[in-house]
Symmetry: C2
Subunit: 763 residues, 2 copies
């Protein structure tokens, strides 16, 4: 198929405003009389709040208002379970809970006032371990509940008892992963403006999910949705992280703005961001797997326990994705998995790129190498023997028959391109010196979009102006990933217009069709289908207009290069000319596209159903060098093969791969938010280490394309699959290099030096 | 028919924000780093600009930029003929032409700098009279043209020569009217903000026609339409006046904003407003009318000459409306009218409430009384004998068969309610003392909406939120007239929702469907039909959703009081609950309504056709007291009967009548923008007199309702008909009181004292 605008590495449409600094981020928003807000956080992770004395703080110069829980019309919010406090009321439940927020004429005055607020606490004994929280009789974090359990997702398929009986080899392993910070460049920022135009409150900011924020703020303020307006600014990254925490900040700023009748700015420092914003869930996982001598998987039993921290946030959904991906992309007749989330007094956890998959993939793909070792097979062979192919039945009982299952293809391409087999065998042998090289791989299947978590629908509006320029209104947002360019390419393809004629409007709840959140690697797939619908709708109306007036049949009309061609390729007129004529005749050329994904299903009791309507497949190979004396690990090269259906913008796809690989690398060997009794110990990037450009390996992205029948132009997803594979691949490479199996992330120096020997024969 | 929300005097939806001062007007808009702009106007109405020296002005403190014509990318704009200068280039053509605009950090600095700009002019001999401008060989205002004629609209029906031959009585009269200022409370205000969100320029302000301003600014900047955003603020009145002049100011502010990369505010003082903004056209009219002895009209011949001032602006359209209404609502077989517009070096003229009708109705309805006097008939009888009724053929050959022609009804009701006959006869007799009372009336038919001037279409978007609240996006605007309330009532009627659940969004070219301008008393009629379509569309989708899920048939479902009822009036659920359920299922509840008016036609050569698809009818009776010694006229009472089709909000309709009557009163006896050789002599309200509350007569509004088949809920128009009748009614009342016929507006003291005697037997 010939394309003119999609399937090309077009320059980003937002590049100019970004490189010139004209792009406005949340903290760039300024308004006359704007006040600066500052949050007072609790002193203790878990404490009773006995008294709050605002007296001296209120008397400070330039202080205009201070709010506490008393000022919050409805103090509980939450997208799944409404149990998150806007400001701590009777108790603080974690170290990032807010107690009060000051609004003052200057940031300095607000900061001074915060220090003068006198809070009397009664420190309480908290629960800081998910397994502890799970125990009967454990202190209840939310007293209204019967236990600390947030969620339990069972999955039952076949008969695991029988499966293990039929297995020749059984191994059991435990893995665990840490709290992870999303580490977006731009910390959270909101500005709330009261009584602007027709809205009671308008909130600008770095807001990943404007519609969820709108609902949260309306609910907190007890205001109608049509009176709360959220405008998303340019985003300096989000990675799932600017949802609930930003809703909470937006609500606080809104209350202050309405109280003072002035705009209120609330922008976190990095320390505040790390202290207050939710993290990726730490998981504790127990895996048991059984196989025959020849490497056929017979049974898997998995228990995964997620630490939800103080609030439910997205725990029920995050853990649900783990259920679906826990077994990896392998055919196993007998599966039993149990995935849990428990409240603790730790920092709360929620969405982060990967969303429940990086944890289980680290475990599962480490396990596969451990099993291969046990069976004395090479890890590629073991995988090839068991991977999903067309018409495979997944652990949840879904038959993979809607699209090309390309696991073999991504695996083979990555293995060949990285010279995996040769290197794996070479590195396995004894290497001289302290620096040992290793190579490892991991594979995954990943459900695209929200799946059975929630309805998956998105809308696009296209409005053709009289001069042939177009506005594109999207409910899904540019978070930095390149969405604007991709949508403009898709619309341009169908309308025959250059992408510089198409203007992608920032998401604004007042204009944009509520399309849920830009998460779950769904924007290209779900929103792209809406773009296609809207553009086809508009193109058809253009064709109809021409056909009715210029003796043409609609089928002969082609839109290309800004021009309308008729039968025998005769040039009829430019799209600009046609737009102007249509306007003169009162023909309105705005079109809607609304896309609802194909049907999916899920039985929560058994974990059976068709959780996603399509999947993407990926394989990453890591090559490392480990200094066994210092414990230092250098990742030399990452080869990443990802099936994206169709790459609408290959340069953007590569950008996603580079970024995802780097985040996977951080997850594998560097990143860990350390907590101690609920206190966070590394609250800035001097102590919380993320990869820098110096840590960047040679990255070899391999784009695999098997156009999906349900994807716009065949496109699927790429955002999250890129980071879920790195940690396991690196762990396997480290094992290949050092013969040491590390089952706890991040793989650090200490573990390398004193780490456990690669197990032989199960525990 | 039973209504729940329309046909009721609901409280205005915008009352709260207006009375609390929260409503933001153009001049209330403030932005960080905003600059203040000030215009330097030409010194002479007509002059060559030899040199502009900005040197000293530029050196002033706080001055950031100064622009002249050289800085304007495309210096010509205009909605019909593009000949208006953004800034005077080689010549200034009228006294309000801008020469340069300064942007400075303070208004004071801008003002100082303006004074320091040194312009060398060569004064030229201008043309300041439309009849002078008409003469062959007259100085050409626009050198590229062959004459100063902007437009000539002929109308030819029957054979006037024959008609006059068949007449028993023929009279010829001349009437003239002055320049009139729209006199909105709020002078023009714009603020241009560069590079905001995705727009190159965003302009806020008191902008009557955001879409025309968008086109003008885009054209001036040579920018794509989708990069120019216009947001209408609350408006302190417009009355047709905030269109071209605001486009020009918006373009100037935009150029400065892009040059400085800062927001630029350009707000006129009252003096600047009166000097710069276009006026209602002065007309010079010659009427000749022939009738039989028994009062049957046989022929009319009319010549009307409008002064267009320096630019074309809306002259071609304004004069076109005069053509249609020039003969009044009377059956005449033989008609010949010629309506002209000519350029002069006077202030330019454009849209003002009435739009070409107040001038000709003053003439025509004065003429009818003069003819009645001549025929010795009473003015009511003469009118009743000749007025349009159902199936009448108009001067342009249109058969009035689409709606109830209610002239007799409005005339009869006003005459009865005002006790016209008795008073007319009584006052006609000699009255003792200096204070003479009189009563007079006038009637009109008025084409609703734009008519054959331009395509008449409008769009509405309704978006139902998850909590059952609604956003209403309209392309037509609230200018203060009460439109928001009317649209909310209409949508509420169909959706069964209280109007406080519906949020009418300010017009924003980024969101609102381009529906042309809020002019021509078209908003209730044309936009109302779009509201109806959008609301019906949304209601049907709600019904479909319910029918498919709750064993109902769509036909049984009723939306009322926020609740959905099914067969046998069973309550199914609230609309809020339904909205939430729909959102969960990915059903998108936003609907479009796009309305295009019924077909109309016009032959510009003959002035024949169906210029409007429906008409409204009105009659006003004025009762006055004239002090013949001082010349003072007191209007004691105005009785105003108007057929509005259906009054959606009777209180609002009355508001329109009160306001229109007062403007008509000003037109009749007070208002006149005086010019002398192109200079304006009264540039503020101390000298340009408008009626105050002290001049307010007893006003008796009579709402007549004959629901129109093409109107939403039967509604038609009310904005402009209310002011087109007053001047003639007052003139007729003055004649009744004093036996003096004044044919030149305003009727002033001097004319009363030395005015011409009511003519007997024609000139």
């Amino acid at each position: 198929m010939e394309f003119n605008h999609v399937h090309k590495s077009k320059k980003r449409v937002d590049v100019y405003e970004k490189v010139t600094g004209r792009a406005k981020y949340g903290a760039d928003m300024r308004f006359p009389d704007m006040l600066y807000a500052q949050t007072l956080y609790t002193k203790y992770p878990y404490a009773e709040i006995k008294n709050i004395d605002l007296g001296s703080a209120q008397k400070q110069n330039d202080v205009e208002a201070i709010i506490t829980a008393e000022d919050v019309p409805n103090n509980k919010f939450g997208v799944i379970i409404e149990n998150q406090q806007v400001l701590a009321e009777d108790k603080s439940l974690f170290i990032g809970d807010g107690i009060a927020v000051v609004a003052a004429k200057t940031a300095k005055a607000a900061g001074r006032a915060v220090e003068l607020i006198d809070v009397q606490y009664k420190e309480l004994k908290g629960v800081y371990d998910s397994l502890e929280a799970r125990k009967e009789g454990s202190q209840l974090i939310h007293e209204e509940n019967e236990s600390n359990q947030v969620i339990h997702h069972p999955l039952r398929k076949g008969n695991v008892k029988q499966g293990f009986l039929e297995s020749d080899v059984i191994i059991k392993r435990e893995y665990d992963t840490p709290f992870i910070e999303q580490s977006y460049i731009e910390p959270e920022a909101v500005v709330a403006v009261p009584y602007q135009e027709n809205s009671t409150i308008t909130i600008y900011g770095s807001i990943q999910n404007p519609f969820a924020t709108q609902e949260a703020v309306a609910s907190v303020l007890k205001e109608k949705l049509n009176k709360v307006r959220i405008v998303q600014n340019h985003m300096g990254g989000s990675f799932g992280g600017k949802d609930e925490v930003v809703s909470s900040m937006a609500a606080r700023a809104a209350i202050l703005a309405l109280k003072t009748e002035k705009p209120v700015r609330l922008v976190n420092t990095r320390d505040q961001s790390i202290k207050e914003s939710y993290k990726r869930h730490p998981y504790k996982m127990k895996y048991k797997i059984g196989a025959t001598h020849d490497g056929r998987l017979k049974a898997m039993q998995i228990e995964a326990v997620a630490d939800s921290g103080a609030y439910a946030c997205q725990t029920p959904f995050v853990t649900w994705r783990s259920v679906v991906q826990a077994t990896g992309p392998y055919e196993v007749e007998n599966v039993k998995t149990d995935t849990y989330g428990f409240y603790t007094n730790n920092i709360y956890t929620g969405a982060m790129r990967g969303y429940g998959s990086p944890q289980v993939i680290f475990a599962q793909e480490s396990l596969m190498d451990e099993l291969a070792e046990e069976l004395d097979m090479d890890p590629v062979q073991l995988r090839l023997k068991n991977i999903y192919h067309n018409n495979s039945i997944t652990a949840s009982g879904q038959k993979l028959d809607s699209h090309q299952v390309s696991l073999k293809e991504v695996l083979t391409k990555a293995v060949e391109k990285s010279d995996f087999i040769e290197k794996y065998n070479r590195y396995k042998k004894e290497q001289p010196g302290d620096k040992k090289r290793g190579i490892g791989l991991s594979i995954s299947f990943r459900g695209c979009s929200l799946g059975a978590e929630a309805i998956d629908a998105a809308g696009i509006i296209l409005s053709l102006k009289k001069d042939g320029s177009v506005n594109l209104y999207s409910g899904l947002a540019e978070n930095g990933q390149g969405l604007k360019t991709v949508y403009c390419q898709m619309a341009g393809e169908i309308l025959g217009l250059d992408i510089d004629r198409i203007n992608f409007m920032e998401v604004d709840t007042l204009i944009s069709p509520d399309s849920g959140s830009t998460v779950a690697s769904r924007a290209t797939l779900i929103g792209g289908n809406a773009v296609k619908k809207a553009a086809n709708n508009l193109a058809n109306r253009i064709k109809k207009f021409i056909a009715e007036r210029y003796e043409q049949t609609e089928g002969d009309i082609v839109l290309k290069d800004g021009t309308i061609y008729g039968k025998k390729d005769i040039e009829i007129m430019s799209i600009a000319e046609m737009s102007s004529k249509a306007a003169m005749e009162g023909v309105y050329l705005t079109s809607y596209g609304w896309y609802v994904s194909p049907e999916i299903s899920w039985d929560e009791e058994t974990g059976q159903g068709n959780p996603y309507f399509t999947y993407v497949y990926g394989c990453q190979v890591a090559e490392v060098e480990v200094d066994i004396k210092t414990g230092e690990i250098s990742v030399l090269k990452m080869t990443a093969a990802h099936d994206v259906g169709r790459a609408i913008n290959p340069a953007n796809v590569k950008g996603q791969i580079y970024g995802g690989v780097m985040m996977g690398l951080g997850y594998g060997i560097m990143e860990e938010l350390k907590t101690n009794q609920g206190y966070i110990q590394n609250t800035n990037f001097d102590e919380y280490l993320i990869p820098t450009v110096k840590d960047m390996p040679d990255i070899d992205p391999i784009i695999v394309e098997n156009p999906d029948p349900d994807g716009p132009f065949g496109a699927k997803s790429i955002g999250e699959p890129t980071l879920e594979l790195g940690a396991a691949a690196i762990a396997n490479a480290v094992a290949n290099a050092t013969d040491k199996r590390i089952r706890s992330l991040p793989i650090n120096l200490e573990q390398i030096i004193v780490g456990r020997k690669l197990s032989k024969g199960g525990e």
